[in-house]
Subunit: 452 residues, 2 copies
């Protein structure tokens, strides 16, 4: 009934050297290359095939071992196969009747994740389209626990609620606060801003592995404060696996919720993000339910607790859990842990190399997979520490980035942070990365920037 | 560098008759068949391949021409190929630098959709993971236009805001109101509840093709009211294409925003949902932006207006637009329109057949692709119209549904609505459906329910 053969073979186009991470074109140039216009009449299959080849050719090769630009990299083939099957099977996760297999797989993988976190008495959870939604869910559940009436009556007569978070938390907490009627100004960063006059804190967002620096909040101390003041404790562990096992329990027993994205450190296909909650009183469902009569009939012939759709603010929801389930099944927990260890070992190698090399300087000692550093071209190396030096240094990374994209040899991020001048941010999360790749990265940054 | 061969061939498993829509197993039975447990050690490839086959086998065949259970059905092969490529290319739509091709394709397809709607001066838009998010975006933009300060300070000192909507709008409006701190009780349905004492309406949500009945709100009259009171007018056109062209303009000129899901009527792979806004002052970006320094650096070497990520409340965002772009390119606008026409002709055929057949009764004359009807087994046909008849009829659809799932011959939804007893809800959206399929559906419902 359903037959699909797919062949994606980048090597077949011999004009693209396989070592390029990207083939840069400006938006205006690329528009011309792609012929984007949609017309009244369709095109023959041979044209469409060429358009598919072009789409692949001009896309960034994010699975290339020299792609370090984001918090995702590499390719987990089992999860990709699972994503293809999920696309072909074409279903949504709202009811058991239309997604029996994926409903059970989501349940199984959530239970296993809850076990890994260390919630011995169980919990609940759901896969979301991205970690931002998971963080938004945490804010919503915390607010709902604080006062369930807000769901019905809104926040018009509520006291001013405040979220406490570490300064370097992901920006989704701000986006969520804006969306949810809490307001970005009511996201208080700790410790730089502790003024809470007249406001009611209801949750703390902690981060285990921040987006930019990969830093860890002091979660044990935060948990003490939350316990004392009855605050919801959400922990964004976006980039962890065995670290959860080894480092976090028994602290994890004190988390109310966790956002965990297997599409980052574990290389699952995009997207693969879970929101986990320790509560066992259907808080997730009670907080989000709308009981649509056309989906969630209560006179069905099976156990409707398997209809998970009302746990979500979405209606359509993709079976992303299947991707994680299949790769976990194929690899086993130990291999997943070892992969993370290998990636972290590579991050440490990179940090050590940076310390050894002239002209490279770490922004700070890495705690995790994020390695942040400056490159000083020879012209800056003998300048005294001064605002002028930092001002000049600030302009180096953008130029090197531009040159690396135009050669297509590698991709890494850069950014400023507070007072700090633009630095390179490498996130080493793929175990497919070798020491040679990392040596290349440092050599290449020097080659591209030594004349600056 | 990247080589993928995928073969999904359901026919190869000869134990599954190709005409079955599903192979029903209860959650407990299916758990045993699937061996869901995740262990420390992985499994060999041959086992994993069998697990993939099982995942496909026990999943519902939603592309089967006798699957009418949801607002999606059928399979658009171009869009599926695009989804495979998007999975393999593995990127997010936040910046041009990591998703140059998909960024431009999203832009092109949004522009074309805006043209189809009839916004002659242009507009803005974004693809979201599902129509619910699009509706939530509409509420958020309407609120932001009403008072931009809410983004920063929250709604703690705001007047009680109210959303006006038709009674049969999608439940995402309620879910959104709860999430956004507006409250489900401040979603006022019109005309059954017009009490607005002390409250400030800021938007109207209208529906062109409701979820259950496929009904159309009187959009022209609603637009008059919105204009008079300066209310944001959002229209959920989830299931339209050429209807937008033929029926809605010039009314569309008066819409502030539109939610449009090509994954419904146009059979694009799940998910494919666009939110479109007529505004041309970057309202979408201003409303949602958080200006994360690690993604949206302003000193990049290219035009950063192509970095669309800050228009979204998500961080990771899938290139769903590519699926719609590729199928539109391959088929052309005319073929897309004709497909919708063919599906609507089939829905009309079904309604006519229902009128002809003994024991079948339409709930109401269909306006669109949704055909809602009761089946009266012979035992009920000679009963007088009475509460007792309706009480008995209410139990028929759940039993027939159970039997159809256990035989696997077809799938259709059922539900009650207000005072109305459980009725069957068929949504005929796939042009791959034939008259024979629809005849079969009615025959089969009779066969499955005639003894009741």
């Amino acid at each position: 009934m359903l037959q699909v053969w797919l062949l994606v073979d980048l090597d077949s186009d011999t004009s693209v050297p396989v070592f390029q991470v990207c083939e840069w074109h400006s938006p205006e140039q690329l528009k011309k290359l792609l012929d984007l216009e949609l017309r009244d009449r369709g095109e023959p299959e041979s044209e469409i095939l060429q358009r598919c080849r072009d789409a692949i050719r001009y896309s960034v090769k994010t699975s290339h071992p020299r792609f370090f630009n984001q918090l995702y990299a590499g390719m987990e083939p089992y999860s990709m196969v699972a994503s293809f099957i999920a696309e072909a099977v074409k279903t949504n996760l709202y009811t058991y009747e239309v997604a029996p297999v994926f409903t059970l797989m989501e349940d199984a993988v959530l239970r296993k994740m809850i076990k890994v976190i260390g919630w011995e008495e169980g919990g609940d959870g759901i896969f979301n389209p991205g970690g931002s939604l998971s963080n938004i869910y945490a804010v919503n559940l915390a607010r709902y626990r604080y006062c369930p009436d807000f769901k019905e009556v809104g926040m018009f007569s509520a006291p001013r609620l405040v979220i406490l978070t570490s300064q370097e938390c992901h920006y989704s907490i701000s986006k969520g606060a804006a969306l949810m009627g809490i307001g970005t100004k009511n996201v208080y960063t700790v410790p730089t801003d502790e003024r809470c006059t007249g406001a009611v804190p209801f949750m703390v967002n902690a981060t285990a592995g921040t987006t930019v620096l990969g830093a860890f909040d002091p979660i044990d101390e935060i948990a003490d404060i939350c316990e004392k003041h009855n605050l919801w404790l959400h922990v964004d562990v976006s980039s962890l696996f065995n670290q959860v096992v080894h480092l976090i329990p028994p602290v994890a027993q004190r988390f109310d919720s966790v956002a965990w994205n297997p599409h980052k450190m574990l290389m699952a296909s995009l997207q693969c993000s879970a929101f986990l909650v320790r509560d066992k009183t259907s808080l997730l469902q009670r907080c989000h339910s709308a009981r649509a009569s056309y989906l969630f009939q209560q006179d069905k012939f099976y156990d409707v607790s398997y209809d998970t759709g009302d746990k979500s603010v979405q209606c359509s929801r993709k079976p992303d859990a299947f991707k994680f389930w299949l790769m976990w099944k194929a690899l086993g927990s130990r291999e997943l842990e070892q992969r993370v260890d290998r990636a972290l070992a590579m991050a440490r190698y990179l940090a050590e190399e940076i310390k050894k090399r002239e002209g490279f300087r770490l922004v700070l000692e890495p705690e995790f997979a994020n390695v942040c550093f400056w490159y000083l071209p020879p012209s800056l190396r003998n300048l005294p520490e001064s605002p002028e030096l930092w001002k000049k240094l600030h302009t180096v990374a953008p130029v090197v980035k531009q040159r690396m994209m135009k050669t297509g040899s590698m991709m890494t991020g850069y950014q400023p942070l507070g007072e700090k001048a633009n630095f390179f941010r490498m996130v080493v999360i793929s175990p497919q990365v070798s020491r040679q790749d990392l040596d290349f990265v440092l050599d290449e940054i020097h080659n591209l920037g030594k004349d600056l």
